[in-house]
Amino acid sequence: MGAFIVRRLLNYVVLVFIATSLAYLGAATAFHPKDQYLQKNPPTPAVVMYHELDERNGNPDKPVLERYVKWVDGVAHGDFGKTWQLDSVQKHFSISVWVTVRLVSVAAVLSAILGVLIGSFQAVRQYKLSDHSITFASYLIFAMPVFVLAPFLKLIAVQVNKAVGGDTPLLQYQGEIDPNATGFFGQLFSRADHLLLPTISLSLGLIAFYSRYQRGTMLDVMGSDFLRTARAKGLRKGRAILKHGVRTAVIPVMTLVTYSTITTFAGAIITERVFGWNGLGSWFTDATRHADVNSVAMITLFSAVLVLIAGMLSDVITAVLDPRVRL
């Protein structure tokens, strides 16, 4: 068994390495950090520029492969290089990643619970009005990408605030917290207020996705032989569905939920941008605009690792929930 774990992990390390290298090499050839300096007004003195470019391991006069080798060597020693502002990438990462975690945690948990509940409810009431309405709503949400949904939520918030009036707007849509908020509860409220719209923006799609899936697996289970057996034993319909149905139908959905939840932490580019959170997503787009190869490679590495952890963890969850599956 041990050997198999080692082999699989080794394959993972290779995949992550290749993915990150592709990102580095892609960025290193596509980005032109030197141009950024040249376009500055007033122009940066050449000495400073080359010094900074070298500092960032981004001197275009050096061959890409040489820079790549240097970067790999640094990463192997725990040094991910410098950002375009000449900060340490690790430091920037450790700040941004927590912003993202604060942003998506609530949404991830909330959507998993609501998705499963709504989906099961729909399956039991298949083809009833409530099922049709929820189905239609999910279609609408699927058709609404985040870059439409997020500004749309903002639009609603503005109108609501306008209608309510008052000195401070009721619904906040910019940043993490009001810098003027004081006291523990004041800060907590401000945080929650700022989190409301981004959470909706992140959750709606996930809820629609999970509930569709749960509805499907639940419908399969509704026609299953073992549910018929449970009823032939004398269990009433509702109890048979709850005890034997939902428990079985939730297994494949939990796999999906685990996977999506983990990968959500890789960043929420649009939501962060629209609602002004400085998390991984914002960092990534900023880094691209500033031709910052090191930051881009770091975020790619993180997100590749998350994908693999998500894959592995969803397998483990399945094995835990389903006695038929062995690790």
Partner: protein
Amino acid sequence: MSQNDHLLIADPAGRPGPGSARTGAPVLSVQDLHVTFASEAGDVRAVRGVSYDLHPGEVLGIVGESGSGKSVSSMAILGLLPDNAKVTGSVKLEGRELLGLSDKAMSKVRGKDIAMVFQDPLSALTPVFTVGDQIVEALTVHQDLGKEAARKRALDLLDVVGIPDPQRRFKNFPHEFSGGMRQRVMIAMAIANDPKVILCDEPTTALDVTIQAQILEALKNAQELTGAAILMITHDLGVVAGFADKVTVMYAGRPVEQGAVDEIYYRPRMPYTIGLLGSIPRLDESGEHGRRPLTPIEGNPPSMVDLPDACPFVARCPIAVDACRASEPELLPAGPNSHPSACHRRADLESGTIPVDQVYPMPEIPEAALDTVPRAQRETVLEVKGLQKHFPLLRGAVFKRRVGTVKAVDGISFDIREGETLGLVGESGCGKTTTLLEILELVAPQAGSVAVFGREAANLSGRERMEMRKDIQIVFQDPMASLDPRMPVGDAIAEPLRTHGWSADKAQARVAELLKLVGLEPYHATRFPREFSGGQRQRICVARALALNPKVVILDEPVSALDVSIQAGVINLLDELRAKLGLSYLFVAHDLSVVRHIADRVAVMYLGRIVEIGDVASVFHAPSHPYTQALLSAIPLPDPHKERERTRILLPGDLPSPANVPSGCRFRDRCFKYASLSEAEQKKCRDEDPTVVARPGREDHATACHFAGALEVV
């Protein structure tokens, strides 16, 4: 093993004869039951007027082919049909009307008074709960039992139905049980609350024949213990013959004949019943050579939408008259001493004006020219020597790893001569299908050799292998799966021709010829597989296999997916083609009756080995390997008298897995003979792997048993 020991040799008595019809109040009374499903095509009248009484302790067999409405009627009794079903009539349990009860009220009846055993034990248990918990649930739903009391009772039940080591098995999940074991669990749940009626819907259809024998025995025990009445729904006339007191034959949603079991089997009064009985190949066929041709029922059952007012069987009935087209016959006795049947000509059948055995014309099967040539002088068309196929056994979803070896085929040898049929029989997992596929690959096997017409497959070039494919063709089990649903059947039949370079015109002419050969019409070539019935599809597959004039045709369970009445026609066709075209067959089947009927020689497989091989007469009349004996004895005969007199050898335990082959003789841990041997003899079975050796004094009969001895079991 406590329970299995006494199951070893079943007691043929203990079953009241057919004369003992119960009197008194019926426990379950079904009157004029109708079930209609709303569907896109219109109302499907699945059940059209079923009535019967079931007395305590009685067994009623309901026999019918797929679509006859037999299962739907039983689900209607339990109130478990989907919402689009409309049920009318009356179902009374001890005088209390059940139809129309609320789900709440019915829940108190289900599992308590009426219990059910379903067909497919694989899917009938909830996969995520332990077997023990599911039995406990069946108990606590209806009884006010403490946790410990329920557990004890569940353990008792597991023991009663013959599950060894109940303490340990209690905690297992369904997937850790074999099919037979799961069916025992279903029976345990069914008898948990001492029901008055047990409904069994094809309880043994998905099981192997030796396991079927075990389960039927467990059901009998369960009935004796609870005194329940049993409603046995099945398509297998053999199972009913030995098990039921009364029989109802259903066709197109209606009972067409009803009566005591002997009445139905020995004095059938409805051409459908007569046809069914005449179309089953029988293990107890007599005569060394005079094969009784089977009498197939032509045509297919009618669609259940918009049935006209006529006998639904009229289109398939050889003795139909105008009256049969004018109105649907009622279920009435044919005479004063007769049982009810639904046939306008029942009086003629009763009086003997139409002799029952002449209702169906006896088909003519031509004699093959080669039949008179002694076997030794015929050419060998296929020779397999020491063939072996092992698979790695993988486990784990996250960390896939090899944990062992599946010895699917572990060194088997046989040969087939020109014009000969070799039947290869065995239960699931014995390696018979793997054997076929290995032969058809026409490459060097892992070990051993495959030779067609004396040419080693291992030494062929690509071109030669392509050439050889012309000579060896296959017909698969499931005619639905073996035709591409998106290809007209003419193209499907032409595919081998086109692949081997025939021109379109020539191929088209050949397709027409082939369709006629298998009893279809040339204009069928443009139609799609789904427009044909199962039997017709199988004929198309046969036509495709014969397209290139092969010498050997490999038949993988060619009739097991078909209803009995359809089966017979395909078997006769295969028989006829063999004689006409001088073909050789390798006929793989789990049904020994079919093999008995069609094969010249038979090889019995167990766990990747051939344990007995020889000509059909020798193997069936004097089986010498204990496994063959048990296998033959497990097959129920469609003959109530014989069934009641037979002694059945019940094998203990499950089919072992080819991943875990015992040392020495691989059959020893289930062998009833082994148990009666001395210590020294047992040691031999444990240590020495027996080889296939010729039976002394027999021309064509060999077996792989250290202590082989003939025993008549049929």
